[in-house]
Symmetry: C2
Subunit: 432 residues, 2 copies
């Protein structure tokens, strides 16, 4: 057991015998849904086959002491950061979210040599590099496996593994709520509103549903992943972001007819100048690994110079899954000096973001009955778009697959069709 | 840089500054296809974004010095283990395969505090626990990410992560060669012999193809995974093992008609008494993550008490992929004290192996034209088997899906049908 976290030395971190069980004092900075799940799961460590620690939650910093909580309460719960920081902890778990006061508290703790585990994607994306550098200077670690895909521990596969970490491109489903909604529409042919209501019933939505449904959460995670892969710093506001609200049962049925489905995707590829990237619903063929991500699963496929087509998937975020990932980080933080955070480069370049050239799936509403595939082909060829597939239809709407085209050219062509033929189009990207 | 591996101390392993680049001397125990790929890729470490090491291959132990090799040759190449062991190495990479002399050499090195990286599944499955314990006593590590699914770094996600490491069951495609053959038959409707010839052309087969095609390699990996998950020790010879040689284009086409495909699977579930397990071709529905493993990809899905449906996949083994994984292990071995090998329990129980009760896919050859689905249903119900699906057929052969049945009962019923109705059946397991 450590005497005083203020004087923690690296030797304390590695001195524990591999076979003995030591008591680890946890401080919880934040006791919301995830923090409560951490407090509930922490006592179980002592019973796990491969854990050599016994967790004791020593104190918590909260915004509101009086809030009802579904977890054993730590001996000290305070709203005063200074009082919290005076506690003795072997590791602190930060689940506040947002950047402040998380950044200040984490920096103070790391500065004292206390390892910190965080699930805070905003904090890691914006200040991960500086906090990791601070931790390294103080011989401790910042761990953040739960900040990216909380239920899919994949950062540990990259940490100090420089060959596999040479990631050149990735495609991922990172928002479990959006995926649940599109999966539900696909499976039950229900409306977007019904699928959203189901997600709300299951507690899968945040108070501000817009962050999930409009792609903002996914854009944040894209920036985080670009940072974790060592590419540099990307501004989420500069990424092409589309939400999923315009999709319904007909779109998912048409996608199925065309041999695929629609998933809420983040896609990025490193270029000389920066990254090509987009966030939004995309048609994926059924053999694509992302197509298999049913329900609220999330997953990421990445490729690089030495290893291609690695694919990691698992449950989308939920408090218990996130808490298990956080507690695993806490075990690593107190029992290893592995420099988990390596992929964050210190002098991260600011990345220029470009919308990529991809294939497309276009929902086309004709002024009358939809023309047959040949006629549709001719119509679209007239504005420079190559139709590569079409679904069956008997009404005014037909879904067309369009060959690789830059976004600007597609948008211009579709505007022209609206103008000249009163053909109303809605396009999403399409991946092979 | 380390002065003398004979007196290596833990402090040497962690003292290197995070930002500087240090030179790491590699010893190669084995210089076959994988060892040569290691020698080719090792110099690239100095150019990788997140590597803080520069590898120098200092010596190699080989069986035959005169063999032609497609790699830069180390300064010292010897067939004499004692001469090799006198070299100065910061890490040794063992790619001999088989148990001896690998075990003796690895034990000698670990005993001197030199970290070892191995891709040797036989060694890790049979002696992993004792070697890991030896490494721990000497303050060093044995790393073996390449021993299980060489192209899929997933052990690092379990290493010191006790919550996610509570694995209760898994299903995997671990033999890239078998998967390539079945994927090729499915895609091209070719014969088994043609697909095998293609695999041979691509260098995907071992000299003894039987280990791949008859499931022996997969059975070894099942035992290895049971060990790595901390379940205990399983004898590959006690597992139900089936090969893939009896499958052809008609089987894969029928599987497709029935909404799935056939994959070479290892499946295991921890029970009170031991494990339920099998190795062999299995029907999987198209939405199953294993169904998406095209070509020679391999992958594993596992579930436990805290995290369910984790799925990791990537390229099946090949020398370059394996070498990248090995070199990543080598970087971790020299820059971290992470106790990577934790899931191997020291006193591993000997596991009793039981064949599980599953659904089945049965190829049924009738003496004349196949009866319609209703008649087939009645015929099989007469021997106690419930038909849950049938493909279309116009000939004498029909594929039937059979509800959950213990293997012994299925085998008895099919024998009875052969006897009473001259109906010849070949059954594989079926997974949802």
């Amino acid at each position: 057991m450590l005497a005083d976290p203020g004087t923690l030395e690296r030797s304390d971190l590695v001195a524990a015998p591999a076979s003995g069980t030591r008591t680890v004092r946890i401080g919880l900075a934040g006791l919301g849904n995830v923090g409560q799940a951490v407090a509930r799961l922490a006592p179980e460590a002592a019973r796990l086959a491969t854990a050599a620690v016994r967790f004791r939650v020593a104190g918590a910093l909260v915004r509101d002491v009086s809030r009802q909580r579904r977890c054993p309460l730590p001996p000290r719960v305070t709203t005063n950061p200074e009082a919290f920081l005076r506690g003795h902890y072997d590791v602190v778990i930060e689940t506040f979210g947002a950047i402040e006061p998380a950044r200040t508290i984490v920096a103070r703790l790391l500065g004292r040599g206390i390892p910190v585990v965080t699930a805070n994607k905003s904090l890691v994306a914006a200040h991960g590099a500086e906090l990791v550098a601070l931790a390294a200077r103080r011989g401790t670690t910042l761990r953040y496996e739960a900040s990216a895909l909380a239920g899919v521990p994949f950062l540990g596969a990259l940490g100090e593994r420089p060959y596999v970490a040479e990631v050149a491109r990735f495609v991922a489903v990172v928002n479990g709520t959006s995926n649940f909604i599109l999966s539900t529409i696909a499976r039950e042919q229900c409306s977007f509103a019904d699928a959203l209501a189901r997600a709300e019933q299951l507690g899968l939505t945040e108070p501000d549903a817009s962050r999930d449904l409009d792609g903002l959460d996914a854009a944040d995670k894209l920036a985080l992943l670009a940072s974790l892969f060592g590419w540099g710093s990307a501004a989420p506001a500069d990424v092409e972001v589309r939400g999923i609200r315009e999709l319904g049962a007909d779109d998912l049925a048409a996608a199925r007819q065309l041999g695929g489905t629609i998933k809420p995707v983040v896609w990025a590829s490193r270029t000389e100048a920066g990254i090509d990237a987009f966030v939004g619903p995309a048609f994926v063929e059924l053999h694509h690994p992302l197509a298999a991500l049913a329900g609220a699963l999330s997953g990421i496929q990445f490729s690089g110079r030495y290893v291609t087509d690695l694919f990691f998937s698992g449950p989308g975020a939920g408090p218990d899954i996130t808490a298990a990932t956080i507690l695993d980080d806490a075990v690593e933080a107190v029992s290893s000096t592995r420099r988990f955070a390596k992929p964050i480069r210190k002098a991260a370049p600011r990345l220029a973001l470009t919308a990529p050239e991809t294939e497309w799936l276009v929902r086309v509403r004709f002024p009358g009955v939809a023309p047959d595939e040949t006629a549709a082909h001719t119509l679209f060829a007239g504005v420079g778009l190559a139709v590569t597939g079409a679904n069956d239809t008997q009404g005014a709407v037909r879904w067309l697959r369009i060959a690789r085209t830059p976004r600007a050219r597609l948008t211009g062509a579709l505007r022209q069709l609206l103008h000249t033929h009163r053909v109303d189009c809605y396009a999403i990207r399409s991946l092979r």
